[in-house]
Symmetry: C2
Subunit: 362 residues, 2 copies
């Protein structure tokens, strides 16, 4: 029985495990948090730091295949494991490029991949991205004449502020033979008043030309990496209809969760197939879909419960994904809900109904 080891046992790990349990494999998970989502859901769960070289080497000694659910993991360990002949996906060289936003930007420019141009840091407005450690929107800020004193001192990329019409994402699976499977384009729907992510819609409400170009650009990124894996390519569709790559995650991604309910093979199933070098699955969708994050409510910190579950479950085609985190905090991502329906109108109506009541409290 093949042994698959995953660095990270959070919600992405949990959703991977839920699907991977259908396959003839052993699942090993490494996470520093003894109460991680996967803590009770692996053949072997090891508490340890995936940023520590020796910890990763010790963990992986007994596994055949190493995968990740977070990109900030120890690179030296992965290089040694690869040298030992283990399958490591994503390849350490891909991770090395992605872990540093400066190297990532150079990589796009070198491969003629459309992306925000590098810009002088004293010409405003300018986007500052920390080279290392950014995650989930952290480590990025827009600097202007007015707030230029807030500039971070750490190594950063400075780039032109995109004139964004829509934020899109494309998830692509690539196997060892270089074959790819491309999911429909995902649209991030932003609240115009608060400029906050409201929900994700798949397929995006864009015309075929834009969809094709978005997929082409994403595929260009994946072809440039030239290694097996799951890639989530985040894109800006600008107001002049040009498309820029924002950044790439070399793993399953928040923007792809609706594939669990709406696609023949989900992004988590595809990750398993890529790790095991099985034939890629089908990205065909059975309906339109959206996901809405379930967030920790203001004024609540402590043992988590969820409000609005009944309201959600009475919607035909709606599904719950609770991430198994014990503690809720204001703004913490505690789970998500998926909505599937034949039309965008139906889905948006469902989201509008549930959004005010679906949250995590204590």
């Amino acid at each position: 029985m093949l042994k698959v080891g995953i660095l990270g046992g959070g919600q992405l790990g949990l959703m991977f495990v839920q699907n991977a349990l259908s396959y003839p494999i052993e699942i090993h998970i490494l996470d520093p948090n003894p109460e991680a989502s996967c803590a009770n859901f692996a053949h072997r769960f090891v508490v340890g730091d995936f940023n520590d070289e020796q910890t990763v080497l010790d963990f992986a000694k007994d596994v055949d295949i190493v995968g990740i659910e977070i990109e900030h993991v120890n690179l030296e360990a992965l290089k040694k494991l690869k040298a030992q002949g283990k399958t490591v996906i994503p390849d350490p060289e891909v991770l090395e490029i992605i872990q540093d936003k400066g190297i990532q930007k150079d990589f796009y420019l070198k491969h003629n991949i459309p992306t925000a141009p590098v810009q002088d840091e004293n010409t405003f407005p300018v986007v500052q991205k920390l080279c290392r450690g950014g995650y989930d929107g952290k480590g990025v800020q827009v600097l202007t004449e007015e707030n230029k004193d807030k500039k971070w001192s750490e190594d950063s990329v400075f780039e032109t502020l995109a004139d964004i019409k829509l934020e899109l994402a494309v998830i692509i699976a690539r196997n060892a033979a270089g074959e790819t499977a491309i999911y429909p384009v995902v649209e991030q729907v932003v609240n115009p008043t608060y400029n906050l992510l409201e929900y994700l819609l798949i397929p995006a409400r864009i015309n075929d030309d834009i969809a094709e170009r978005a997929k082409e650009v994403a595929l260009q990124v994946v072809d440039a990496f030239d290694q097996p894996g799951i890639y989530a390519v985040e894109l800006f569709l600008n107001n002049d209809n040009s498309i820029w790559v924002n950044e790439t995650a070399p793993r399953v991604h928040n923007s792809g969760h609706a594939t669990i309910e709406a696609s023949a093979s989900s992004q988590f199933d595809m990750m398993l197939r890529v790790l095991l070098n099985l034939p890629l699955g089908s990205t065909e969708m059975t309906s339109k879909a959206a996901i809405l994050n379930i967030i920790g409510a203001e004024g609540h910190e402590g043992n988590a419960k969820v409000d609005g579950l009944d309201d959600l479950m009475k919607i035909p085609g709606a599904a719950m994904h609770w991430y198994g985190k014990k503690i809720t905090k204001p703004g913490r991502k505690m789970g998500h809900a998926t909505f599937t329906a034949k039309t965008y109108e139906e889905i948006i109506k469902q989201i509008d109904e549930v959004k005010p009541v679906l949250k995590s409290t204590t």
Copy 2:
């Protein structure tokens, strides 16, 4: 966080857990086998005999809701837990009727539910069903003038041999409010040469009139039980187009596995909803589907692996379900494969291709 305890941690428990992990609950499992499918996949896994009263009482002390994945569990414990005010589904009274084939037969007759008539045990041919302990087709035999000496001595029901055209099954979820959700009728496709189950097809290839009548009879059974739960009602469609209830399982069932891939809410999701008293899900199907069991090959006994996984995974819409059993034996059910497609022809072609190579060996 609600604590859900399940008696039994085999493959049905595993598929329940895979889905239940999406909900804000704690999952507790009791199974006598320390290497059961669920052994590493529960918040709390307890090794113990679910037929022992005290073991069940101890296990359930700390849970809010008790469910089952096998009907042969200790009834006295469940009655006491119910008396303590815990939610027990299925109700012990339902289980008491179902655990004994004699009582079950009387129940059908009393409620005017069509079923094979009781027959004198010395009029041949006659079907002998052991009252207790039968499972998965065991404990049933046809007696004729020629083999009447093989009659078992244990308490039995003797009934008329059905003149079977098709074997069907209907799965129904019923909640505490008495609302029901009915899945499409399942057809058991039998190999005409060997008289062995080949695969299960959903929806069954029957006309609307027969489908409606099958659902009506199944609903009659569930209404007669008059308690929340998941019910798998196995039916004979006779050559004169009459329908007889064969037997009922008060739980998720082998005949409903294709609902994982092909239904909005699977039978495992519906079980969770019934246990938590959430709104029932949608039984709408997104495609036609079939399941094929993966069986331990002749001449192989020992540590299990699977042959033919690549052949299966290259079929668009096919899915693997490995049950996590360590040891394979000839004839042992090790997993199943699901096939989804727009037409029966496509599905049957896929099954015919994969069937010769998909099996468990050592």
